[in-house]
């Protein structure tokens, strides 16, 4: 490990030279618990710090997978990326234009154009399609938004072409059906098609496959990656399962970001993150992912001190993982680590263990 690495903000990671599609700098999202007027006089309102100072760049035809336990802010960060969630601090830029400035109308790039190029696919296929509309009407909506001048005949033809493209033929038969007449896998493919018809630059897949059957998951992920080329879009893929994340990111040649309590604990190329995790939390996630290995003793004690996630309203001081981290020492309680680049590899981790000269090494082990 060489001398003090300069803190790597997400931007420099992956040393891509072309301009990123989306770049987030020091984004924070805090939710204030609603209070009555009288309550607000008496005590401080409870603030949930969902996302806390995250910087991330997403490039063209890129794949970024966000992994973490529930409540770590991965969905909130995802929604901030595609402009559905306004950050309380920091900026979100789409090809150099601040999205929320555009929304207020004082940028030359119109907000509608940005809005249309950032789409979403949801977790529950059943709830992502309006039960009262036929598939043909559901898929006509995006075309009407992007190509309002198009005739209904052309629209119909494109919808049929898309349905066939996502493997649902005969398209005419599927088009006339209601969502409840489709299986989970088919519904999810319609949702994917709807997002793709907007010709987006970035699609947020919010746990898009965890509601599907095991055998369908691989098929859906393959389809998404296949269409990435054709529709020239990048993916922000959210999952709480490391093996799905690994499959998607490695296939798409992208990165995996591990999130913990609103911060990026570690981010790096997919195979690096699986085979050689540097952050203790990534290692805990890796331990928790059951695999088909025949050995039993790997199922030993969980390599962490507390199984339940701390309360996001008042997160632990210093490095937020110190209350559960098996490697935690006094130093971790006091100061907060930045993202330090791992030497010569596309990987960065927010842990003092990455720095040789940090006083972490000589501070006593944490006993609780």
């Amino acid at each position: 490990m060489s001398d003090a690495q300069r803190p790597a903000s997400g931007a420099t990671l992956g040393d891509r030279d072309e301009e990123p599609v989306l770049s987030l700098t020091d984004v924070e999202v805090h939710f204030e618990e609603q209070q009555g007027i009288i309550e607000s006089f008496r005590e401080e309102p409870e603030v949930v710090q969902a996302v806390n100072g995250v910087s991330l760049d997403i490039f063209d035809q890129d794949v970024v997978t966000l992994v973490g336990e529930s409540g770590c802010g991965k969905t909130t960060l995802g929604k901030t990326c595609i402009g559905l969630q306004q950050p309380t601090a920091g900026t979100v830029e789409y090809r150099g234009t601040d999205i929320w400035e555009a929304k207020r109308g004082n940028t030359e790039v119109p907000f509608d154009e940005i809005r249309q190029s950032l789409q979403i696919i949801h977790q529950d296929p059943g709830a992502s399609l309006n039960p009262n509309r036929r598939i043909i009407d559901i898929l006509a909506e995006p075309i009407k938004q992007v190509h309002p001048t198009l005739g209904s005949g052309e629209r119909r033809e494109r919808i049929y072409a898309l349905l066939e493209r996502v493997g649902m033929n005969p398209a005419a038969d599927f088009a006339d059906r209601y969502p409840h007449q489709l299986s989970g896998g088919e519904q999810q493919r319609v949702a994917l098609g709807r997002a793709l018809l907007m010709n987006p630059d970035v699609i947020l897949a919010d746990e898009a496959i965890s509601a599907l059957d095991v055998s369908l998951r691989v098929e859906m992920m393959d389809l998404m990656l296949e269409l990435q080329e054709e529709f020239d879009t990048s993916y922000v893929f959210i999952s709480h399962d490391l093996s799905n994340a690994r499959y998607f990111s490695e296939h798409g040649g992208g990165r995996i970001g591990v999130m913990y309590l609103g911060q990026i604990a570690e981010i790096g190329a997919a195979n690096r993150m699986i085979t050689d995790p540097h952050h203790p939390y990534t290692n805990v996630l890796r331990w928790a992912t059951p695999d088909l290995g025949l050995d039993a003793e790997r199922a030993g004690e969980p390599p962490m001190r507390k199984i339940d996630v701390p309360d996001p309203v008042n997160p632990p001081s210093g490095c937020r993982f110190h209350t559960r981290c098996p490697e935690a020492r006094e130093a971790c309680v006091t100061d907060e680590p930045d993202l330090y680049e791992v030497e010569g590899v596309e990987q960065a981790t927010a842990c003092f263990r990455e720095l040789d000269d940090h006083q972490y090494w000589d501070s006593p082990e944490l006993e609780d």
């Binding site: 595609i82 559905l84 509608d112 809005r115 249309q116 950032l118 789409q119 979403i120 949801h122 977790q123 529950d124 709830a127 992502s128 399609l129 309006n130 039960p131 009262n132 509309r133 909506e141 995006p142 938004q145 190509h147 001048t149 198009l150 005739g151 209904s152 005949g153 052309e154 119909r156 033809e157 494109r158 072409a161 066939e164 493209r165 059906r177 209601y178 409840h180 007449q181 489709l182 299986s183 949702a191 709807r194 997002a195 793709l196 018809l197 907007m198 010709n199 054709e230 529709f231 020239d232």
Partner: protein
Amino acid sequence: MDSTVGGVEWTSDDTSASEVSRSDKAREFYEEKIYKPAIVAWSDMRTRIGILLMSIYGLMAVVAIAGLWRAPTSSQAPERYMQPFQNWDYPLGSTASGVDIMALIIHSTDEMLLMILAGGVWATGLAVAVGTLAGYKGGTIDNVLMSFSDLVMAIPGLPLVIILAFTFNPENPIFVGIIININYWAGLGRSLRSQVLTIREESYVEASRTMGVSTPRILRKDVIPNLMPYITVNFVFAARYVVFASVGLFFLGVLPYTQANWGVTLQRAYSGGALFAPEAAHWLIAPMLAIGVLSLALILLGQGLDRVFNPRVRTRLAGESESTAADEEEDTFGGKVM
């Protein structure tokens, strides 16, 4: 750049394919909006009875408007207190002053139907507007609308209606219908708002928002269609309330009337001693039956109609293929009553 696949440029704007013919569109509209709902409505026994009963009232209204039955005038019947079903010219018999009861019933149906329609549309329309706006927009609009509806809900319906009727002396049935349901919309608006609050969080609404679909269009296409079952049940209840309240107010003599209607007949029978003279019993029963059967028809229609808006029922009955997903047939009447 244009990514072409199998000859389809996803990004180009030019329309090369043939237009969908007008007749196709008309046929599709007919099939979706008229034919299929009709099958679903007719399939349920309750709705079938409801439709039959309502068509009787519809017929009576047409007869009244077209003047095919004699207008009710006093001493038009050969004798007073004629018993029903004895003389076919006066099937329901006659009143103390020799008025043909059948004429009395028929000649108030058209006004009553108008009144119900006006009252129902006013109450449900306003409730939907208030409910969706407050529910979807939230923030100050929500607070303002909800505190206003709380105030309106705090006023007991009938006394306010009586005072307004006394002040404005409404003649036109539409105006009467609206006055009767003057504050009915508040309760309904509040429950619609809570439903909109849940629908607003649904993924497909968020997807529409992400696509940049305008709010009015989202309300029209995504939110309201999913509320329709609840709206139809409550439209019927609002109409039923108009029937009860209007007849009650006519009975009390609060509402002015141009021509005799059920409430007035009821009141005349009641004060004309029908309670004591058994031979006048039919004079009292006829308006009661008219009111009862109409509201029964409305209730049955209400139960059946919300099935029309349930896509699962529609596809199953229209013989389209069913997906493997279990189709739960829950009785929406129970949980949804206002």
